[in-house]
């Protein structure tokens, strides 16, 4: 029982880590980023490259790849998203436009990765050592994912709910039309949120690459998982993403242990459906 809780939380930590970036991009910048998973994969490959050619460990690589994720996303927003934002008559239209354009972006990132790295399976071993947590042997790299997602989540919550800057971001998330009336630069807020989301995707990629096998075309799996977590947690809600991520991890683990490993996906979608029936806007979502 205890081991399943530990394993479930560790697995859920990964989901939460992946989903936080998407929820910020979707909730605040209002960009439904379908290329999110491919950004994660790009970070996986960058980590792999640094590790195998320059012998830079993934933890050190975070210092390079996370800022790179931030600034690249900033660039993507300025060049590709900004014209859409300016053009969109309302939030719904922006959502549709952003889905279409990021769907294209997905293929661009995938194509570049395929050309550079080929289509093969990539994996390496780092920090794959056991650490006993309450009597359960857990891989250090997976534990790191959990610790990072909780840590980053806590920092984000503090920043969003306790700082002036966070208040601005929340204002843009809640009322993008009214925020400018208070002198808020919504464009800047959205840009920053999108870039922070990109930095989080990069963080997720670096950590995931330590224990997960990835291919140049595997990004869509991460996007889907993140999307489920985001919608379950309520769009734009960081605590929602963390709790939904951990919940999914626990559900998968308990179903695998007590019912059947073949039903883990079915269980995830059942929880997803059931929760949306009760709370259509997700756990922490506002109508």
């Amino acid at each position: 029982m205890l081991e399943h809780i530990v394993n479930g939380l560790v697995l859920g930590g990964t989901y939460a880590l992946v989903a936080m970036g998407l929820t910020i991009q979707y909730g605040i910048a209002r960009i439904m980023n379908l290329s999110f998973g491919d950004t994660i994969i790009a970070a996986c490959f960058a980590t792999y490259l640094l590790f195998t050619t320059l012998n830079v460990g993934p933890l050190l690589a975070l210092l390079v790849i996370v800022p790179a994720g931030y600034f690249l996303s900033l660039g993507v927003y300025r060049v590709i998203m900004k014209p859409l934002v300016d053009r969109a008559p309302d939030a719904g239209a922006l959502e549709v436009d952003s889905i279409l354009v990021t769907f294209g972006l997905l293929f661009v990132i995938q194509g570049v990765l395929l050309t550079v790295f080929g289509g093969g399976y990539t994996s390496y071993s780092f920090l794959n050592q056991p650490l006993s947590v309450l009597g359960t042997a857990v891989a250090v790299n997976r534990l790191l994912a959990l610790a990072l997602s909780l840590g980053i989540g806590a920092i984000l919550v503090v920043v969003l709910y306790r700082s002036h800057w966070g208040m601005i971001l929340r204002a843009v998330a809640v009322a993008p039309q009214s925020a400018p009336l208070f002198g808020i630069d919504t464009d800047r807020a959205a840009r920053t949120a999108f870039a922070v989301g990109g930095a989080l995707a990069a963080t997720g990629g670096v950590v995931l690459s330590m224990f997960q096998t990835f291919t140049a075309t595997g990004g869509v799996v991460f996007t889907m998982k993140a999307l489920i977590v985001v919608i379950l947690g309520g769009k734009g809600s960081v605590p929602g993403a963390i709790i939904a991520g951990l919940l999914l991890g626990l559900v998968e683990t308990f179903v695998a242990a007590y019912v059947d490993p073949g039903l883990t996906l079915a269980a995830v979608y059942t929880v997803f459906l059931a929760l949306l029936l009760v709370r259509p806007n997700g756990l922490f979502g506002k109508a």
Binding site: L11, G119, T217, A257, P261, G262, F272
Partner: protein, 412 residues
């Protein structure tokens, strides 16, 4: 096409699907098309993107490229009259879509009118194109396809050739080893078995259940998992409490790697540790982060076979990485047989098919390779990592195989 689980996104999804089709069309543009009378055109559709890209990129595509390069470097394919013609390649990306691969093969046959068509990667895809290949009369050298139905297929499509055996072959060879080890007292009569709920896993586990039980083994843990599974902590934990000395996983590479990593973390080390696709990849020890001594899987090579060693060296030199220890050499041998058939009977497709069926060939598998009922049977079914190489094993060794070494030593 993945769609968003959002009601509002339904319309968007429809539009996205349309976009995907547009993308598909542009992706399917031929990568090279220069046809002339002085050359032989060979076409193929392989998965360069999508979920099958990893498998294609390991076992199929590099061997096609290697073979074409070698043949052209030697002045081209020889014909019966002693002349030589260079090979021109027309390659398509099937994007891991069965519809796409069928469309591409049809295009190769009707529009590009290539001389020969090489098959795609995977059992399902080979079955998808088999009727077309037969319809247009192309010899179908199914290199990367495991199927128990091969004896039926060769009757239905008499120009089809199967090079990788069937699930029952792999399972029976493993069972033979397990029975011998049980008699020697190395292992008990319990097996814990997991399998991926997808083509390969389903086929293998279907063959394994009756075979293990008929041999007197009790399958204490028998579960399938979805292909998306990335975390095996719970599954291995449950399998570990089944008190089985034999652990069998019919898995795909991502699962194989994850299972290995998790087994090391959890200190799960049963006497027999048998995994699916991926354990025979040259990168496997590296991915596992150290010694994988004793891990078993499908395939394996004879390290004393100089033909195979030369092939491996050439593959590494031309492609830049080593071939896998299972399907690669079989795919390459099938191409050599095609080349030699053309040399003997020319470009007539029916004559080539007949020659493939009845001829004897010098390939990387041996000086005298021949097919039995259009199927290659001289295949290594079980392999084991021994001293840094993935070697073909049998209960007692001999005949190009080493004796299996069990119990598996501790993870290091």
């Amino acid at each position: 096409m993945t769609c968003l689980p959002l009601q509002a996104a339904r319309a968007v999804c429809r539009r996205s699907a349309m976009l995907a089709t547009v993308a598909a069309l542009s992706f399917a543009a031929p990568m090279a098309f220069a046809q002339s009378e002085d050359s032989i055109t060979i076409g193929y559709a392989v998965s360069k993107s999508g979920p099958n890209a990893g498998g294609s990129d390991m076992t199929v595509t590099p061997n096609y490229e290697l073979w074409v390069q070698e043949v052209n470097a030697a002045g081209g394919l020889k014909l019966p009259d002693g002349s030589q013609k260079m090979i021109e390649v027309i390659a398509y990306d099937d994007r891991s879509s069965a519809e796409e691969v069928v469309r591409a093969v049809e295009r190769l046959a009707t529009q590009d009118e290539v001389d020969f068509i090489l098959p795609p990667w995977g059992t399902g895809f080979n079955l998808a194109v088999a009727p077309l290949m037969a319809k247009f009369g192309y010899p179908h050298l199914a290199g990367a396809a495991v199927t128990d139905k091969a004896p039926d297929f060769v009757k239905r499509w008499d120009t089809s050739f199967w090079f990788m055996g069937g699930s029952a072959d792999y399972v029976d060879a493993l069972t033979e080893i397990l029975v011998a080890q049980r008699e020697a007292g190395t292992i008990n009569d319990r097996i814990a078995m997991i399998s991926v709920a997808d083509g390969f896993g389903i086929d293998l586990v279907k063959a394994a259940r009756p075979a293990f039980e008929a041999a007197g083994f009790e399958i204490g843990y028998d579960k399938t998992f979805p292909p998306e599974t990335s975390d095996f902590a719970t599954i291995l934990g449950e399998a570990g409490s089944a008190e089985a000395d034999t652990f069998v996983a019919f898995s795909y590479p991502p699962h194989t790697f994850a299972l290995t990593k998790q087994a090391k973390v959890a200190g799960f080390n049963p006497p027999v540790f048998y995994l699916g696709v991926g354990a025979g990849f040259p990168v496997y020890p590296n991915i596992a982060g150290g010694s994988v001594e004793g891990v078993m899987s499908l395939g394996g090579i004879d390290p004393d076979n100089s033909l195979n060693a030369a092939y491996r060296a050439k593959h590494e030199e031309v492609i830049g990485r080593a071939p896998d220890y299972w399907g690669s050499v079989l795919v390459y041998a099938s191409l050599q047989m095609l080349g030699q058939s053309i040399e003997r009977v020319g470009l007539d497709k029916a004559a080539v098919a007949k020659e493939l069926s009845t001829g004897t060939f010098a390939t990387v598998l041996g000086e005298e390779t021949r097919l039995e009922d259009n199927q290659l049977r001289a295949i290594n079914w079980v392999g084991q990592w021994q001293n840094g190489q993935f070697i073909a094993v049998s209960p007692d060794g001999g005949d190009g195989m080493a004796a299996v070494k069990l119990p598996k030593p501790d993870w290091q």
